[in-house]
């Protein structure tokens, strides 16, 4: 406080010359100076990481550093590489994971085709990334909060999201939990602790950190997991989130699905560093890179990350996988990548094939069961899909609900305007596809 006054005085009144304040420090010798600065840099600037000086001018060169290795448990043939890494999942859990991968596959095929036929407006499949979803989901606790991007259907299925829920959301019919407000695949479920998906990329990442902070304060033992893609990782929001999770010490797992593409943009045009994992350490986040097509590797990584996160240390997992599907139904990926590449990932390196081999080695699965299961799921999805198509959408006046918790006057008046308009002009609108009366 005194020194501040001295500075003010010297500036405004010229009573004390400015250099007089500085001259009191002149007795410093170099070694003392180093100690002081090294201590300051270590403790204040680098949070305990040891600061050192060097007299050699040398830029750290990213290409000379080793890349972060890709953790795996099984090889392409589903064989355990190191028995100490075997999570020893029981038969029931393993089969449930596999069943849901097959279910997701069949759902994707049928809904993709139905979009092509114009029966739903849009769809995004999950082909090639099934292992990431199920490996993650199975190692989380049920009340852990999930923030997703849009290509994480398997996680929802594990939590108990039904084929009906999927179909209702994609049709936006009156059974849709989201009340028909959003585009297809924008799922959400409060009961399943899965925060409703939104289209703007990476916005969920800092939100997930905020929720994790709230859990930390509530001391409720819950952690948050946030999914994002390699493209989303370029958004400013991801930077914001990584940084805040580290400084505010939040119980969160960031799970990045690095599938090689953001629509048509290959990762070579997305970043210049060691993937997304390479950034984690720079933010002070514990980081691992895993084989995203290895369901057991994903399982182990998330399980360990959950343990670390619950001690309020954020974790980053980068799962290396491949987007076998087109980006969405609005995209034809043959315009920017070779079909050979896609074919290899879809057959030889397919995560389902790999897990199936593992199951077979344990004697838990055979080809005959495979055929029956796929057939059964196809039938169920088709049946649900056809039923969903017949369910009407909510009354058009539903469009005014939930903008605010309560409906303000101006929106109430606009609702009345539409209501009046439909009385006279209703025959010009597709009213037969909507329920006849508003629910509230």
């Amino acid at each position: 406080m005194l020194s501040l006054n001295v500075r003010q005085l010297s500036r405004i009144c010229s009573v004390i010359p400015w250099h007089a304040a500085a001259s009191s420090q002149a007795h410093y010798v170099t070694s003392e100076n180093d100690d002081f600065r090294l201590r300051q840099f270590t403790e204040k600037y680098l949070h305990g990481r040891k600061a050192v000086f060097t007299e050699k001018l040398e830029f750290s060169c990213p290409n000379e550093l080793p890349t972060i290795p890709i953790y795996r448990v099984t090889d392409t043939k589903g064989r355990i590489m190191d028995s100490t890494q075997d999570p020893h999942l029981d038969k029931e859990t393993s089969l449930r994971m596999y069943h849901l991968m097959v279910l997701m596959n069949n759902t994707d095929k049928i809904l993709y085709d139905s979009q092509r036929q114009g029966r739903i407006s849009f769809y995004m499949t999950n082909f090639g990334e099934e292992a990431c979803h199920l490996g993650c989901a199975a190692s989380l606790k049920e009340d852990d909060l999930i923030y997703a991007q849009y290509r994480e259907l398997g996680v929802l299925l594990w939590r108990g999201f039904t084929i009906e829920d999927i179909v209702s959301q994609c049709y936006g019919n009156s059974n849709d939990l989201g009340k028909g407000k959003q585009m297809p695949v924008h799922y959400g479920s409060a009961d399943l602790n899965f925060v409703t998906i939104s289209s703007p990329l990476a916005t969920q990442v800092p939100q997930a950190v905020g929720s994790a902070y709230a859990f930390k304060r509530a001391n409720n033992g819950r952690v948050v997991i946030c999914f994002l893609g390699d493209g989303s990782a370029s958004e400013g929001d991801t930077h914001a989130a990584f940084n805040a999770s580290s400084t505010l010490k939040c119980p969160i797992i960031f799970f990045v699905r690095n599938n090689g593409y953001a629509i048509s943009t290959p990762t070579s045009e997305q970043y210049g560093g060691d993937g997304v994992a390479g950034r984690g350490l720079a933010y002070g986040i514990r980081t691992v890179r895993v084989d995203g097509n290895d369901v057991l590797a994903c399982y182990n990584a998330v399980k360990e990350a959950r343990k670390i996160a619950s001690e309020n240390k954020p974790c980053l997992i980068e799962a290396m996988t491949y987007r076998v599907s087109h980006h969405s139904t609005s995209d034809d990926s043959t315009a920017y990548r070779s079909s050979e590449e896609v074919e290899t990932w879809n057959t030889v390196e397919n995560p389902l094939t790999r897990f199936r081999e593992y199951l077979k080695q344990n004697g838990w699965w055979n080809e005959a069961e495979e055929v029956t299961l796929a057939k059964e799921y196809r039938k169920r999805v088709m049946k649900t899909f056809l039923a969903g198509e017949k369910v009407k959408m909510l009354h058009p006046l539903e469009l005014f609900n939930d903008v605010y918790k309560e409906m303000p006057m101006h929106i109430r008046s606009q609702k009345e305007q539409l209501s009046q308009h439909l009385k006279e002009y209703g025959h010009n609108y597709p009213l037969d596809r909507y329920e006849k009366t508003p629910r509230n």
């Binding site: 009573v15 909060l145 959400g188 479920s189 800092p206 929720s211 709230a214 914001a240």
Partner: protein, 371 residues
């Protein structure tokens, strides 16, 4: 001793500089208000003289005291804030409830939405309204649409974002803006802009407790310049309710924030020089706004001036004009007039000529009276 003496000299010198230099003179006279009669009836008891900064601090103190999930976060809020609005709160509520964030507005907004989604009360600070734009996506695409897009399964209603806004005498382009117009296009948000300490405290408490995401814009020039007798107790001022702060029969004027005081002074001038009795309405809530109070007044007076510091084109004044024109067409006796900032960035040395001053308003009153 010598030090003490020179300190005194310094203080005197500073005073002299500030009083005599036109640059530091504010462009308006502050009109203190009395507690709303409704609040007095509630028998709130003790009052304390507070400026806007202290009133905001007091509101947050009450909110934090009564809601253990409430957190205050932003850049530099831990030591008390660059405007001192959060002084003392860290000591009282602990560093896990009052904390600095990294310097990143989109992060502050996103993080706060996440807090609110998880059921905690988030009181976020954006240091200046001018720096809220990096958070625009989080506020407009996320916060405003959270409840709607999830079919009411999730919401961030417990979110309030405070930001210091408006002209301050020498803020230039990036310490002067009033961003309310940008956000008024985003249904799902509530936007509030108080004119003084009594309203600031009551409105901020309403925002914090409202079940919708709110943006609370604090006229930073009033942080220290305003002072009035503010009830110490916990009270709220309702959102979406305008307040008629001066009665008149000839002409209605609508504004918010600091501009209400400019309008009040112009009304006094008009009374004295033109014999025109102006009614002045403080809109208080920009979204959803109280069209009824404005329309009732205009039906009575037949004339309307809307005034705000933000630029004219697409400013929130345009919304008021079109709505009132539609609702009061048969009562209007003159075109509705907007006196606003010019359609330029907010300039540094030209601020006295940029702002919608009492003289520009007086001129408009004169023209409208003779229309």
């Amino acid at each position: 001793m010598a030090l003490r003496q020179s300190l005194l000299v310094c203080t005197e010198l500073q005073k002299a500089v500030f009083q005599n230099c036109a640059r530091f003179l504010s462009h308006f006279k502050y009109y203190p208000s009395k507690s709303d009669p409704a609040l007095v009836n509630a028998n709130l008891g003790e009052v304390r003289n507070m400026n806007l900064c202290q009133a905001v601090n007091n509101a947050m103190d009450i909110a934090m005291d009564k809601d253990s999930t409430a957190c205050i976060l932003g850049e530099d809020v831990a030591f008390g804030g660059v405007f001192r609005c959060t002084v003392g709160l860290l000591d009282k509520y602990g560093k896990d409830r009052v904390f600095n964030t990294p310097l990143c507005e989109q992060g502050i907004a996103g993080f706060s939405i996440g807090l609110a989604t998880a059921g905690a009360t988030a009181i976020a600070e954006i240091q200046f309204g001018d720096y809220i734009f990096p958070a625009f996506d989080q506020i407009v695409n996320e916060a405003a649409k959270y409840r709607y897009r999830s079919g009411n399964m999730f919401n961030c209603g417990k979110l309030t974002i405070r930001a210091a806004s408006g002209a301050v005498g020498h803020g230039g382009l990036y310490h002067s803006q009033s961003p309310e117009g940008y956000f008024a296009h985003a249904s799902g948000l509530k936007i509030v802009y108080p004119r003084g300490p009594i309203q600031a405290k009551g409105l901020l408490l309403s925002c914090i407790r409202d079940d919708n995401p709110c943006i609370f814009l604090e006229p930073k020039i009033l942080y220290r310049l305003s002072a009035e007798e503010v009830p110490v107790a916990d009270y709220t001022v309702p959102l979406s309710k305008a307040e008629s702060v001066r009665k008149g029969k000839d002409l209605t004027m609508v504004g918010w924030g600091t501009q209400v005081h400019v309008l009040l002074e112009a009304a006094d001038l008009a009374q004295k020089e033109l014999g025109v009795e102006c009614e002045v309405i403080d809109l208080q809530t920009i979204l959803p706004w109280d069209a009824d109070t404005v329309a009732d007044s205009v039906c009575k007076t037949g004339r309307l001036i809307v005034s705000h510091e933000a630029p004219l084109t697409q400013g929130f004044g345009a919304e008021i004009v079109s709505t009132i024109q539609e609702r009061c067409f048969l009562n209007l006796e003159a075109p509705i007039t907007r006196i606003c900032g010019w359609d330029t960035p907010f300039p540094h040395v030209y601020e006295p000529f940029y702002l919608p001053t009492k003289w520009r308003i007086l001129e408009a009153i004169k023209k409208l009276s003779h229309f």
